[in-house]
Amino acid sequence: MAPPGAGDGVARTFFTRPPDEPGMKLLLGIGGSDDSIRALERAVARVAETDDDLTVAILRNPATEVDPEAIEERVRSVLEDADVSAPIRHLEGDPGSQLVDLAESEGFDRIVLGGGETSPMGKIKLGGIAEFVLLNSHVSVTLVR
């Protein structure tokens, strides 16, 4: 049975590596928006099945203003439920640039982010953090849909 949130084959392709290769070093950025929570759940579900090595970075998303402690609590509960361990970091200041800086300076293979909210019409709206990261990161980026 597929893990909760594994969804379509897209996430599988992005997060899975052949068993003989070492796992990827993933950096998940989370600012508390609904799509970032979804990205967390999907990434953790994949990490539970692979050798991937996950670090969670809690960001200050000006669009949500969710309390960082509340986000951390949520992250801990998702990790615990999946029996995955991952260091949790708090990034102060501008979220996009801090995340890219961390990914590049500490040798991460991939940044994982929420893929945007949808409007009442169903239009995908790319978040400000995702836009900055996509345009600036030299590390590959996965947007979780």
């Binding site: 409007s119 009442p120 019409m121 169903g122 239009k123 995908i124 709206k125 790319l126 400000g128």
Partner: protein, 179 residues
């Protein structure tokens, strides 16, 4: 779109209510009328099945029968306002208002089949939709459009939309309807 301040102070209108029939720039007789779920659903699904995926914006219209059907269920549901442009019994254009917060606010989207684009149908479709929306009690309408889509932005400006947000990845525009 959140605040009252995103909408222009001046209201626009009045706009015509459906139905309206006119000749487009190619001389085709086009009727814009209210969407009728029972009579038009199949024709609307056929229009989206034929829609060029290169003309999609921000993930809509979706592709595939099931996704199109689910999306149409959502945007033609309770409290939405929908009009269609019809030529020879074929639906060639569709415009919709989907309710948003706060009350009397809606998000707008419009789609015209590729062979019918650039013929003036979009303008009448949007204006008639706004007329139908006002009649249904909608006072504020917003939309987002890709910021490189100049023809669409010009159309919306001509109808009376003003740009409300240039900061985000998508270009957002808003209009306040005459009370």
């Amino acid at each position: 779109m959140s605040g009252e301040s995103d909408y222009p102070d001046e209201s626009a209108g009045p706009f015509p209510e459906p139905p309206t029939t006119f000749a487009d720039c190619e001389g085709r007789s086009i009727t814009v009328r209210r969407y009728d779920e029972t009579a038009d659903r199949d024709a609307l699904e056929a229009m989206y099945a034929a829609f060029d995926p290169a003309d999609r914006a921000q993930g809509i219209p979706p592709t595939g029968e099931k996704r199109i059907a689910d999306w149409l269920d959502a945007i033609t549901g309770p409290e939405t306002v929908n009009v269609v442009a019809v030529h020879d019994d074929e639906v060639v254009g569709h415009a919709t208002l989907v309710p948003d917060e706060p009350v009397a606010t809606a998000e707008l989207a419009i789609f015209v089949l590729q062979a019918y684009q650039g013929a003036g149908i979009g303008t009448t479709l949007v204006e008639t939709l706004l007329g139908a929306g006002r009649a249904a009690g909608i006072e504020r309408v917003w939309l987002s459009v890709e910021r490189w889509n100049d023809p669409a932005i010009s159309l919306y400006e001509k109808v009376g939309f003003v740009t409300s947000d240039t900061e985000s990845f998508e270009h957002e525009m808003a209009i306040r309807l005459d009370g």
